[in-house]
């Protein structure tokens, strides 16, 4: 059976072009970049080049880019690193209730270690309130960490405004841009961001590598201690092929970004409109316009997400849900609850995320398969009464 992948927000296939660039660094040019002989120098050189490409993709300087083992590590590092390095200035951190777990669980950890964390709530579209943010800032606030774009509902925050406020108040501003890179233009200077997390596998790069942008001058403790790699900021033998791949992926991610987005948004809007107009008792989650170009998140009343995913999988469609069942917990997505969805609606959510090669045929296949599946599950549901609630 032909398969159609609609979960690009979860992970993307490694671009063949990117893999090509990585291949030589696995078995032939495998030298440790910390070594001074020719194999090592060669590795060092391509790492420097890749670092420049990553930096270019967010308008940073190369020496502000530090490679990590992924987006999660970058988030952990940003929060713990800033918190512990600046605890003499204060112990208060502001974040939001809809952050990725990489940020939320790190905040919980920090709360156990003497920090106070305020979780900004969001409106029905998943947007924070800038005015509320201002009122929450205290003398002890040392860090604001607000995600660039949400991984579930795709809502894009007013990053520039937040950066402005943080700058005025002299507070560090970190943003988790794992979902934003390659989907939204990012300029760390213009946005006045101090720290920013990214991850390669979300932009057709390799898994197991990410980066933290740390603006020059920002005080941040190390997270991973050891050798002198990454200018003594992040220890561990450099993953040369992954770094090379990440550099290339970043380059491709920002090339023709706006043109690509236009195409993606058209397809995505066609998808959303079609579903909303053909399937009753559905609702779009997230902001109607301030959202990632490839993100559609729709709740189907009366049915549960995992059943929907399994049914789609059986006809060759891969998508994701905010249902708890997939993770074995009982609560559905904290993001869907945060935008005010009641439990059973949150359980019945479907996240369809489009990639750069998604085409209309794939969307049409989904549009053909989805309604009967929803109907079948509704027919099976004790919550469903023909013709609505």
């Amino acid at each position: 059976m032909k398969r159609v992948y609609f979960d690009y927000a979860a992970t993307t296939p490694l671009d063949k072009e990117v893999l090509e660039k990585m291949i030589p660094y696995f078995s032939e040019k495998f030298g440790n970049p910390s070594s001074i002989y020719s194999e090592g120098r060669e590795a060092r050189k391509v790492i420097d080049e890749a670092r420049q490409k990553v930096a270019n993709s967010i308008n940073a300087n190369a020496n502000e880019i530090f490679f990590t083992g992924g987006g999660t590590e970058a988030d952990n590092w940003a929060l713990k690193g800033v918190a512990f390095a600046n605890k003499n200035k204060g112990n208060h951190i502001i974040t939001t209730v809809i952050e990725h777990h990489a940020v939320l669980h790190t905040c919980e950890y920090l709360e156990k270690h003497g920090f106070e964390v305020t979780y900004l709530k969001v409106d029905e579209y998943g947007l924070i309130d800038i005015e509320e943010l201002k009122t929450l800032i205290k003398d002890t606030t040392i860090l604001i960490s607000i995600m660039f774009a949400n991984n579930e509902i795709g809502t894009v925050q007013p990053i520039k405004e937040i950066g402005q406020i943080a700058k005025e108040k002299n507070i560090y501003f970190h943003t988790d841009a794992v979902q934003a890179l390659g989907n939204v233009p990012i300029d760390v200077r213009d946005l006045k961001v101090d720290l920013l997390s990214i991850s390669a596998h979300k932009i057709y790069g390799p898994k197991g590598i990410g980066a933290l942008y740390v603006r020059k001058g920002v005080k941040v403790d190390n997270l991973v201690h050891g050798g002198a790699q990454e200018r003594k900021k992040r220890a561990g033998t450099e993953n040369t092929p992954a770094v090379v791949g990440f550099g290339e992926a970043c380059y491709l991610a920002v090339t023709d970004l706006l043109k690509r987005n236009q195409k993606t948004e058209e397809l995505r809007d066609y998808l959303i409109k079609s579903i909303l107009s053909t399937v009753p008792n559905v609702q779009l989650n997230g902001h109607p316009t301030k959202r990632l170009p490839g993100n559609a998140n729709i709740s189907f009343e009366f049915i549960e997400g995992e059943s929907l995913l399994l049914s789609l999988d059986l006809v060759g469609i891969s998508a994701s849900s905010g249902s708890a069942c997939t993770s074995g917990s009982l609560d559905p997505s904290h993001v869907l609850l945060a935008i005010g969805l009641i439990h059973e609606i949150a359980h019945g959510s479907l996240r369809v995320t489009l990639g750069k090669n998604t085409n209309k045929e794939e969307i049409d296949y989904l549009l053909e398969q989805l309604p009967p599946i929803v109907q079948r599950l509704r027919d099976m549901s004790p919550l469903y009464i023909q013709g609505g609630k």
Partner: protein
């Protein structure tokens, strides 16, 4: 994650539906926790003549509902009461650890439906 048998029962569940004037109906679970199971029993001479279910829930919830209905159909009430979630799970060839709680729901739904039948009998 699911066995082929679970997927088979999820895809082609047996006994989905309602029984209009059921002799016993049981509903367990809650929308909040993502699983609701409603079971309808038709009982004659202490024998479960027919059984139907409706389930809002994950793949495991649907498959266990279906399997449970099959296991009690044609059985006496006493036999049906002895069906445990472990038996349902083992008939399905196992469930992922984090899904075991769904099978408990099936067991509870049967008991709730039988209880409902019994209380109706007493009230008669």
């Amino acid at each position: 994650m699911y066995t082929d048998k679970v997927m088979e029962y999820f895809q082609n569940p047996k006994n989905v539906g309602e029984i209009k004037a059921a002799d016993g109906v049981g509903e367990v679970g809650s929308p909040a926790c993502g699983d609701i199971m409603r079971m309808y029993l038709e009982i004659e001479d202490n024998i479960i003549k027919d059984v139907k279910f409706k389930t809002f829930g994950c793949g495991a919830a649907v498959a266990t509902s279906s399997m449970a209905t099959e296991m009690i159909k044609g059985k006496t009430i006493e036999e049906a009461e002895k069906i445990t979630n472990k038996m349902v799970v083992s008939e399905l060839g196992g469930l992922p650890q984090e899904k075991i709680h769904c099978s408990v729901l099936a067991e509870q739904a049967i008991r709730a439906a039988i209880k409902d039948y019994k209380s109706k009998q007493e009230n008669n």
